[in-house]
Amino acid sequence: MSGAEKDAEAEAAAEVGTAAETAAERVLEVEGLGVTFGTDTGDVPAVCDIALHVQPGETLALVGESGSGKSTVALAALGLLPGNARVSGRITVGGTQVVGTGEAELARLRGRTASMVFQEPATALDPLTRVGAQIAEVIRNHRPLSRAEAAREAVELLRRVGIPEPERRASAFPFQLSGGQRQRVVIAMAIANSPDLLIADEPTTALDVTVQAEILDLLRGLAADYGTGVLLVTHNMGVVADFADRVAVMLRGEIVETGPVEQVLLRPSHEYTQRLLAAVPRLALSGEDAPEREGASVVELRDVSVRFGRGPSAVQALDGVTLDVRPGETVGLVGESGSGKSTAARVALGLIPPDAGTVSLFGTDLGRTRGRRRRALLSGVGVVFQDPVASLDARMSVAECVAEPLRMHRRGMSSADRRARVAEVLELVRLPKELAARGPRELSGGQRQRVSLARSLVLEPRLLVADEPTSALDVSVQRTVLEVIAELQRELGFACLFVSHDLAVVQEFAQRVVVMRAGRVEEQGPTMSTLLRPRSDYTRRLIAAVPVPDPVVQRRRRAQERTEATA
């Protein structure tokens, strides 16, 4: 549909009357929305009595705790909820009622009047269809273009979302693109028919900060150029501050606060919003380096290289990495996605044998120890892996998971003692006792991650390797957990290798920081001096890309960047 036609339609709508006028002004209007999921274990009421609206050219940010129903609202708006959802209330998109409308009619709406960008770029695209074709498909769903014309337009869209060499990339398969590029493709699909409404459900969480910033810029441009209304779901207050006009805060299926972004972020009225904002880690602008730690390294990587695969498709995941962690110290490992952080952590744990270089744990070469001695050595290690779903055996209860290290290394312990110890550790990570008997599948992502953490701490380790231990947590819970770790560390004096992509968190909790890029150590040193006065461009860019959860500051920063760029 051309712009002219659209205008005509808007005019037609305007003629009907004032009531219709407001509806037409609001590209999305939600009233009294309730969604309940029917599951094996009974009904799960996800959201109830939600009311919100989005006007053309406006961005509404939907924030709130994990599991509060943000995605549910977003999906409901396009009628994309799974089959087990029961919806009540009213949703109007571009004048069309969504609830109760048939698939065929909704298909006419989707991708043209309103479209959507999903969180996970890895799986959002059909792996077997070239990206150009996938974009063209959306175009041809709504406009009578020939195949060739649609293909040409797809290339144009790829150019618009900032993909280099769009002609060539159009014929790439999704797996041949990076995560950021894939997300751009999804956005290209979403804007292919210049929709009135764009719903973006955590469009940048899977991406690292530099890419995140670019994507947000892109969305902002769209809203400005085409008057597209945006519903943005995110947990990142920095993004909200950067981008939103208005904010709605959700808690347990309800909207607890709405208002203009300055008001909500700077003068929150609801208690939950206040708590949320207080917990947001902020990059400090000044500070002192912690004193150098003494003592022999607990873990030391020297000139470690790791290569995955063979032949031309091989990946050099680590390339001459040298780092060490001293007793009582936390070393933050940062860097963009795919830079080799997790790999370095795994090498340190002896899970990946290095192709070159040495790894020593507690002063012993891990490559040369075997059997009982090795096990004894490893019993002093606690591990939290990045993916909370994969980290726990779904067959075991929470208590069993946490008790497993005790069973392995404290054979003599009585079961009563063991139970007591497990309860103690669960308490430490702020997990309620009732959870002990549940299976990991019955927990939220954040709870699972804390179970993992409890397991790693149960033996009072001498070394804790934590790979993004808080990625699935709300900022408030994240803060609590990180404080627990810091406190325990002060108490027990263990060393900690802390992998994170969140520079603010690292700045707050690590004494030293190692910045990685493409398998190499870009720079390392004491936290404050490294992050406040970075020596490499790369680090500087990483820091610049971290958004600040303050709309005023963020706007100023952006203006500054722009002038720097033009200068």
Partner: protein, 294 residues
Amino acid sequence: MSAVLQSTTPTAEPVANYRLSLRRFTRNKLAVAGLVVVVVFLLFCFVGPLLYSTDQTHTDLHQVNLGPSGAHWLGTDAVGHDEVGRLMFGGQVSLLVGLAAGVLATVIGTLWGATAGYVGGWADAVMMRVVDAGIAIPALFILLVVSAITTPDTLGLILVLGLVSWLVPSRLVRAETLTLKSRDYVLTLRATGGTHGRAIARHILPNSVSTIVVAATFQVADAILLVAYVSYLGLGVQPPKTDWGGMLSAGLTAAYSGRWWLIVPPGLAIILVVCAFNAIGDGLRDAFDVRGRG
């Protein structure tokens, strides 16, 4: 003939909650019907002879090829055995061999596949080439040779059928083990000093249980079918023993003589029981599969 109705991808995350699985299983009507059929047939074959006793060891040449009547509910066969009794008697062999061979194949396959998958590297490569070779050699050939070397009694038949059909489960279990062993919880265990034994016993085996159980049901179905096939080729159990496949193929000669009672009962028995086990396997897979929700 050793095809399987098995999913190409091993079932994903198992569910901790068995009650939930049971509920999901019972919701699958076909699976429940399958279970009922299997139980009914087990009762018929193993308890039935106590209620309806017939002479299945001696022939009676004066009572051959009789149609159904009050004395012989399903008539008699070409050497005078009562057909109902024969069905029970043959069913004992078919069910026993099918179940035992299916379980045996699954056990061998599980051990082989789990070892190959867990040990990895060279051992895996060699073990999997052996499996490939096994798949490439027609089972029929092995059956022919083995039956020429030894008399296939019930035990022999179980062993032979078990030995020709462990390949598919072994591939399934290997695939499962491969993914499981790189799961973070197994890595965590190893990174914190757990032994291989513990990893296998606590994580890998319990988590592949659904794959194994599902494989076993399909394997049993296949084994029953294979027994029938083997009997058709004249390699089955020897008289006075019989099995459904043997009865069916013997009955087929009477297809044009209108003696349906020699064909339909054993044919139906095979189809029903094999269907039943397939349905059970299907139900189990749904029950264990977390993606199958809703």
